[in-house]
Amino acid sequence: MSVSGPSGAIVASPSLSAAKAGRFVSLLKSLIWIAAFLAVVELLVLVLGIRPYYLPRPSAIAAAFWATPQAYLLSMWRTLLETVIGFVAGSLFGVATGVLFHRWTMLRELFFPLFVVSQTIPVIAFGAVVVLWFGNTLLAKAVISFYISFLPVTVNALLGFAAVDPRQVALMRSFGAKEGQILRRLYLPAALPQIFVALKLASSLSLIGAIVGEWFGDTTGLGVLLLQAMYNENVVGIWVTIVASACLGIGLYAVVSEAERRIVFWGAEQ
């Protein structure tokens, strides 16, 4: 969708495939960078004689993963599920409350301070209560993940709505548009760039929520693996879990970014 010359219709298609190739190249580049980085770490650990207790060699971490891939993959899957449920629920709730608060200032004045206060309760304290309520279920983790991810979405949705050009609203009203129509056709799309900024943040937050949630007791999940490895002083295990969490986090972020690139193709120009 890059801006093309005056006869845009004709230029558009080659520039599109060029953009695709460009993205492939940049993906390749970042892969090469990661490989180079790992190689350097490996070398440094060997050359400086760093003990595995402080930093195991990347190859050792990989080997530990390959020894029991099943356990790690299952845990990643479980944590991913909790994260995604929490993230989706948090995002929807965030946008919905943004709409409500924008539409009814009364609601905003009543509840928005509560929202902010809710975030000052340490997630650990809140998590304990949630586990009491929901038991040691997947749902409990998703709730914690939801709890720490919705507020940025609410805030940014509100920011995005507030930035809508009032003249644009006036134009829609002059066409006889009802509030719902203005919301769907103007406010929501106009706030999307802002909302996506929050969604990227919420994606990492919801992963943290899921992992912390698992610390309250469970049998699978990255949080569980992390705790077990810590108690057993299994340093390599800790590192495998860290890398696995990072992969999940990066993956989620990448998915949200890609969605943003496709959906908010016009950029935040207005």
Binding site: M1, V3, S4, P6, G8, A9, D165, R167, Q168, A170, L171, M172, R173, S174, F175, G176, A177, Q181, R185, L186, P189, A190, L192, V264, F265, W266, G267, E269, Q270
Partner: protein, 306 residues
């Protein structure tokens, strides 16, 4: 942009009537409910479409309009000129139902006393800025009003697609606003206004952003379609030539607070040819109007430094 508009103007020159007829269909009286036996145009005896008496509007300490009086008859094309900041857009906002005038006013629409808000959805309004939605392509921006009225998208798109060539936008239906020149964006906005078929059209400097060639073409085109189906048009412009060339009447507004300073009937015969601007009658009218505008512009310059 340039080659596009030339291609379009050639198209205009040779295929004017068939093209305009397609549009003329669109300009017909919009809703069966709204038809108030549209009388022959220009006759002064018939019921006015819009009557404004003692309409004032202030924004805090700023008095934008002060007891403005105006009457618009069905089928008229009335142009409005006046110094910048004199309240022209404010007047349009009131007529579009977006702003309520200060209390004490009389606003009659089709003879019925109305609050401004009752005009929402009744008037086809083109604001000064194009206000296109950046996430909608040309076609989808053009059909915005139709969609809001509840027309299915495919039908609305098909209707808009037919109109593209007449607005010099053929082949650009899938472009997004950030890919268009200012003039093209304005034409998309104009098309959006035309597709929203209402008896009264408010055009706030619709051709202000167009280059000279496209602008004269658009003026003649507007006259052509308007002449076929007398939709009532209120047209703000900064260009006195444009005001005279298009209008049945020209309203000159005073510096802020705005009211009607001069109401000049334009008796030039229709259809008007492009060369009419050099006729002695035209020059005389222009002189009268320029004098009036100059006086007001000086005033607004002194008081507010516009």
């Amino acid at each position: 942009m340039t080659d596009m508009s030339i291609a379009w103007s050639e198209d205009y020159a040779c295929g004017l009537n068939p093209g305009a007829r397609g549009l003329a269909g669109l300009l017909g009286p919009a809703k069966a409910v709204q038809i108030t036996s549209e009388p022959a145009w220009g006759s002064s005896g018939d019921n006015p479409l819009i009557e404004l008496r003692n309409v004032s509007k202030s924004f805090g300490p700023v008095v934008a309009l002060d007891s403005l009086e105006a009457t618009i008859h069905p089928g008229e094309l009335v142009t409005v000129v006046g110094p910048s900041g004199c309240g022209k857009s404010t007047l349009f906002n009131i007529l579009a139902g977006l702003e309520e005038p200060d209390p004490g006013n009389i606003l009659r629409f089709r003879g019925k006393s109305s609050a401004a808000s009752e005009l929402l959805g009744q008037v086809s309004f083109m604001p000064q800025r194009d206000l296109l939605l950046p996430w909608r392509n040309v076609i989808d921006n053009a059909i915005l009003a139709l969609e809001i009225e509840g027309m299915p998208r495919t039908q609305a798109r098909a209707e808009a697609l037919k109109m593209l060539p007449e607005f010099g936008l053929a082949g650009f239906e899938n472009q997004y606003p950030n890919q268009l020149s200012g003039g093209m964006r304005q034409r998309v906005a104009l098309m959006r206004t035309f597709l929203f078929r209402r008896d009264l059209m408010l055009l706030d400097e619709p051709f202000g952003a167009l280059d000279a060639l496209t602008r004269t073409m658009m003026q003649r085109w507007l006259l052509d379609v308007w002449q076929k189906h007398r939709r009532t048009v209120l047209f703000i412009t900064h260009d006195v030539d444009e005001a005279i060339f298009l209008g049945d009447r020209v309203l000159v507004m005073t510096a802020r607070p705005g009211k009607v300073k001069l109401e000049q009937k334009i008796d030039l015969p229709r259809p008007r040819k492009a060369d009419i601007v050099t006729s002695p009658e035209f020059i005389t009218l222009k002189k009268t109007l320029l004098d009036a505008i100059e006086e007001e512009s000086m005033k607004s310059f002194m008081t507010s430094g516009h």
